[in-house]
């Protein structure tokens, strides 16, 4: 919070805040608290800019952040976060945030089982390959009792690419979900990349969409590419206010602009 108090005088930072506020208002997260709730971002394109907006929002609100990533390093999130106005390395040093590399944890779990190949767990159906990852998350979250925190899992579909079965991923989600709901001040944010030809990913994402309070679906434009817009966004609330809203958005280096459909060029 000290970083934000100092930076508010910077006009560039003010423009970043305005863009971040637009996203948060479009998702209605300025009116609805995410404590005890879950959110899924279903992305049909690579790399969701909205996950970073939500990370920024969590950092601004002073929430503890447990960030689990299967595809990117901590440096990537720090670099993107710097563009959006917050410093991940600073939060890590102050124990305000914890970064868990998903693939590293999976590799370490296979070492403990004395496997010659780190992917041996794929051929051993009796073991739960992501149990170690779950225990790591549980250990981090247990230290934050009665403190608001955000458990952010980026690109959960990477586990499917590794060969983990959908039933294990669903079970992993349920455990994370129960962790968040046990602590009434926690929130769960998950992103999943979806390919239309991959039935397992679609099956997983559809099932998790039924279980999340807020579903954000991010797609490209139906008619192709545009210089004015990056894609379309659908925001579905499965709880009150039970609304479904559609937006267009444009990604910039330092944020996202949201538009009502058809108003991008106005």
């Amino acid at each position: 919070m000290e970083d934000f108090e100092y930076a508010w005088k910077n006009p560039l930072f003010n423009s970043l805040l305005k863009m971040a506020d637009t996203v948060i208002k479009a998702l209605m997260l300025d009116k609805i608290q995410m404590d005890g709730k879950s959110l899924i971002i279903v992305q049909h394109n690579d790399g969701s800019p909205f996950l970073h907006s939500l990370l920024t929002q969590s950092a601004r609100q002073g929430r503890k952040i447990c960030l689990v990533s299967f595809n990117h390093s901590v440096g990537y999130y720090h670099n993107v976060g710097t563009r959006l106005g917050w410093n991940l390395n600073n939060l890590l040093s102050k124990n305000q945030a914890v970064f868990i590399g998903g693939l590293q944890t999976l590799k370490d779990s296979s070492r403990l089982q004395n496997c010659s190949n780190p992917f041996d767990f794929l051929f051993n159906p009796s073991t739960c390959p992501i149990q170690t990852l779950l225990l790591s998350i549980q250990e981090v979250v247990s230290n934050w009792v009665e403190q608001p925190f955000s458990l952010v899992i980026d690109e959960l579909d990477c586990l499917l690419s590794l060969g983990v079965e959908p039933k294990h991923i669903v079970k992993f989600f349920q455990h994370c979900h129960s962790l968040v709901q046990t602590n009434s001040k926690g929130s769960l944010i998950i992103s999943m990349g979806v390919t239309p030809s991959d039935k397992e990913v679609i099956q997983c994402s559809q099932l998790l969409a039924h279980w999340c309070d807020l579903v954000i679906t991010e797609k490209g434009l139906q008619t192709g590419k545009s210089k004015d817009l990056t894609g379309s966004l659908t925001v579905n609330w499965n709880i009150h206010p039970f609304t479904e809203q559609h937006f267009h958005f444009k990604c910039y280096d330092r944020g996202i602009k949201m538009f009502a459909p058809g108003t991008a060029v106005l």
């Binding site: 709730k37 709901q181 099932l207 039924h210 279980w211 008619t223």
Partner: protein, 292 residues
């Protein structure tokens, strides 16, 4: 009127199929509440991860529940035993929310066997929810064989609609009626329409099912003379034509099409008039100047 008939009779094993566009859980809970008020004891098995609002909802309904995370490593028999142990007398209704996590861990055949065993060993009815957009058609069709009553919920014209099939014990099958009719327009085009007699319903804050009425929805079939939908790209702009615009387009005379029915009395344009000149023959011998 399947939903209306269900409410007037003892519980029937029912499968409710929903999707992300319209959740079937409110209908599922309202049916449970209806049977609970009619003296049936509810045994609620929760396999889905609950939404944040569900804790309050279950408190309102005064139904005890506990979320179970399905473990694929355990035998399905243990799940079946948990259902059977709770169903010890006739006035019990087993509610399963939902079958989708079970279907991820076990085959539809195994789930069907477990449900069939439950229905054979006890006389309880089972009401279950399944997410139709998670599973393939083959799995959903297989589940239809287990449950005599199958309801599918959807949203249309701003209303909650319910359609389904009910195979009664007597052998009679009640289905949301779908019929086809056609009408003939002035230009001799045949227009086909499908009628679906679904039911629309609403649910109050206290989970009461009300306003269950017949809803007749007409859907025009594909117009043979109109542009095929696949040829028109999807866009936020209006690219297709309505009936009036198509008629106006059919009346446009294209300039390059020859007119075969021109009348001869009409003055012609661009006519070439050729007058034959008088011959200018010369009487003199042209070779006269030659000194042959």
């Amino acid at each position: 009127m399947i939903l209306k008939d269900i409410l007037t009779q003892p519980p029937v094993s029912t499968l409710i199929q929903d999707s992300c566009s319209l959740k079937g859980r409110p209908l599922f809970l309202s049916l449970i509440r209806h049977y609970s008020e009619n003296g049936y004891s509810i045994r609620y098995f929760k396999y889905d991860s609950p939404l944040s609002s569900e804790i309050t909802e279950m408190e309102q309904l005064k139904i005890s529940w506990k979320t179970s995370i399905v473990d694929g490593n355990q035998d399905l028999m243990s799940v079946e035993n948990s259902w059977t142990s709770e169903a010890r007398n006739d006035q019990v209704l087993v509610a399963i929310d939902s079958l989708s996590p079970l279907l991820l861990n076990w085959t539809v055949g195994a789930i069907a066997s477990a449900l069939r065993n439950l229905q054979k060993t006890t006389t309880v009815s089972v009401i279950a929810l399944v997410h139709g957009d998670v599973h393939d058609k083959h799995t959903l069709q297989a589940l239809n064989y287990i449950f005599p009553c199958h309801l599918a919920v959807r949203r249309a014209q701003g209303r909650n609609l319910c359609s389904g099939t009910w195979r009664k014990a007597s052998g009679k099958i009640t289905d949301s009626v779908k019929s086809t009719c056609f009408s003939c327009s002035k230009n001799l085009n045949l227009n086909y329409f499908f009628f679906a007699q679904d039911e629309y319903y609403s649910i109050t804050d206290k989970w009461e099912l009300k306003d269950v009425k017949e809803f007749i929805e007409t859907q025009p079939a594909v117009m043979p003379d109109s542009l095929p939908k696949s040829a028109v790209p999807k866009s936020t702009f209006k690219l297709d034509l309505n009936a009036r615009e198509e008629q106006a387009r059919s009346q446009v005379v294209l300039p390059y099409i020859k007119k075969h029915n021109e009348s001869s009395s009409e003055p012609s344009r661009g006519k070439i008039i050729y007058e034959v000149e008088a011959p200018d023959w010369d009487d003199e011998d042209p070779d006269d100047d030659l000194e042959i």
